[in-house]
Symmetry: C2
Subunit: 341 residues, 2 copies
């Protein structure tokens, strides 16, 4: 059977069904942003992400330092999504012959910059020749308090659905970069300079994303314990479905509450793309999507850059987007296709 027939989620499911945890320190395995291990009062968190050239990044427009930074940050984001703190990373790099030492140093400079900013230690890894492109695989370890770890499966009926920052910016940044790459290939002028002025924000969201450590610390400061949480890497649509499916509940998310930056809106307009589709399915936002008790409403609404976008319902209600004109549309697996062009 072709892997494309199954899709990534089903492939993982098929490969790992029947896996049983046998060690007492293995508290939670596959199925969340991180695995969780039990070490006394602490919980140890572990997550891993791979970036492969041509699949996850294009070196035509991705500076190696940014790439290193992003490769580290996307792992930190998974740890924050469990309400933990990233502490260590192991970095594995496969390097093809066309790379020089100085380029790999640039990549590491980006990784180490992210480590410095987020107070994470580079503790090990593996370096190998590669016959083809550049491969970066990072494993991140983190810590959390046993009673503070947040899973995807704890959302309760009447909980509020919240998301940090804004959505769709990274995706529009990618569209811009891809368009300018095509223009560059057509004009064949080595001095060609793409015009990205007024688009700096969406480009930065794509090339140098940040993880929302600030939101985690705001939640702690306000004594808010999310009931479920996930980071938005595949798009809001896909992530809210993970939360609802694993929590056994439904949801209503209001289209007019979904936070979108002005530059994202202008760029989507330029590309003639539906803005809600971009925000729901763009992905690579690395914002935090979480649910919290209704009783925390007053505390939540005072946190900067945080948005209440809906609420959790009984499962029989379904997982619904309530559009601006009051229609209810079901979220769909792997993205919300009904608005797609």
């Amino acid at each position: 059977m072709q892997i494309s027939e199954l899709g990534e989620f089903n492939l993982i499911k098929r490969l790992t069904e029947g896996v049983k945890l046998q060690n007492s320190s293995s508290e939670r395995g596959i199925g969340d942003d991180c695995a969780v291990m039990n070490y006394g009062d602490k919980r140890l968190l572990a997550t891993t992400d791979v970036l492969l050239e041509g699949i996850h990044f294009d070196l035509t427009y991705t500076p190696l330092k940014h790439l290193g930074y992003k490769a580290a940050v996307v792992n930190f984001s998974d740890i924050y999504a469990m309400n933990g703190q990233p502490k260590q990373i192991l970095v594995t790099v496969g390097i093809s012959k066309r790379f020089e030492v100085e380029q790999i140093e640039e990549l590491y400079r980006g990784i180490l910059l992210a480590c410095q900013k987020y107070k994470v230690d580079l503790i090990g890894g593996d370096t190998s020749a590669s016959l083809t492109g550049l491969t970066i695989s990072i494993t991140c370890l983190g810590e959390g308090e046993s009673d503070k770890i947040v899973y995807r499966n704890g959302a309760k009926v009447t909980d509020l659905v919240c998301v940090s920052g804004n959505l769709g910016a990274s995706y529009m940044g990618l569209q811009l970069l891809e368009r300018e790459k095509q223009v560059f290939q057509q004009v064949k002028d080595p001095d060609f300079q793409p015009d990205f002025s007024t688009k700096e924000y969406v480009l930065e969201r794509q090339l140098k994303p940040e993880a929302r450590r600030d939101i985690i610390s705001e939640l702690a400061k306000h004594n808010i314990q999310p009931t479920s949480m996930i980071d938005v890497s595949d798009g809001l649509s896909s992530e809210i479905m993970h939360i609802c499916t694993q929590s056994g509940c439904g949801c209503e998310v209001y289209e007019d509450k979904i936070p979108i930056d002005y530059q994202t809106a202008v760029t989507a307009e330029e590309f003639n793309m539906n803005l809600t589709t971009v925000a729901l399915n763009g992905g690579e936002d690395y914002e935090l999507l979480f649910t919290a008790p209704l009783a925390d409403y007053d505390k939540l609404k005072n946190i900067d850059d945080l948005h209440i976008i809906g609420h959790i319902t009984k499962p029989e209600n379904g997982m619904l987007l309530i559009t601006r004109d009051g229609q209810s549309i079901a979220f769909k697996a792997q993205g919300w296709n009904s608005l797609e062009k």
Copy 2:
């Protein structure tokens, strides 16, 4: 600068110099078989290894189930080399289009078989499309007691140098497989069957290696605490130099004490290769090389499949191989070149 000018060890050194550990849980970073983290009484161990198609394996003669098994076991071996027990793995796989679901299932069957045998839990990972070959990156976590962890840097003058099992078998297995691949390509007969009879052992050492959990438990049973330890992945020559350099000492290793299996000897003869070179530089043995106090001599000599091959000396003595005819020859970095054909 070309990466080949630097070599892997120097590249890692250059990329990671200036890395300082800033978290209290990060006890030991880069420079040993595993990183070590401090969680109360326990020490958490972490190691990662990547296998890239065309560099580390050739699917012409490597069954996917064996490949999965080996990818897991080589990580377990790094944990045992710290005197720890492997507990969890995270598995990242990059899959190109030419693979079918059933093939990736075979790979995972091998990984899970190794997990079952070594009592390790598969707790997470990442699965991605790959534009080119198969990529397997595994991170292994393990546990050890804080006063039992063994580093590379604790060897003391007069300590005995010991190695488990035998050396060079895996390398000769690889030579056989490579030769039969070439024959197969020349005859162009799809029904061609290589004749591997009487060579099963060296092939198994290459295709389905085991990690020496049994040696770790024997050492514990006999109450022997090694002063330094490393697993033999790059060859005895390279590993003994790691121990001596990091411990600030010299060594004398006796050529006639180096354990070599009969099949390895016969195959090396067939290939007209110097047997000592094969044993010293072949690599992929995944045996344990360690040092232990001279006072443990009587206990060590009674452990099955364990060999005392030399002793630790003052640093000014150098790192020496004492040949059968009594000559002293210095081990060389990246392998011991003087015997090479």
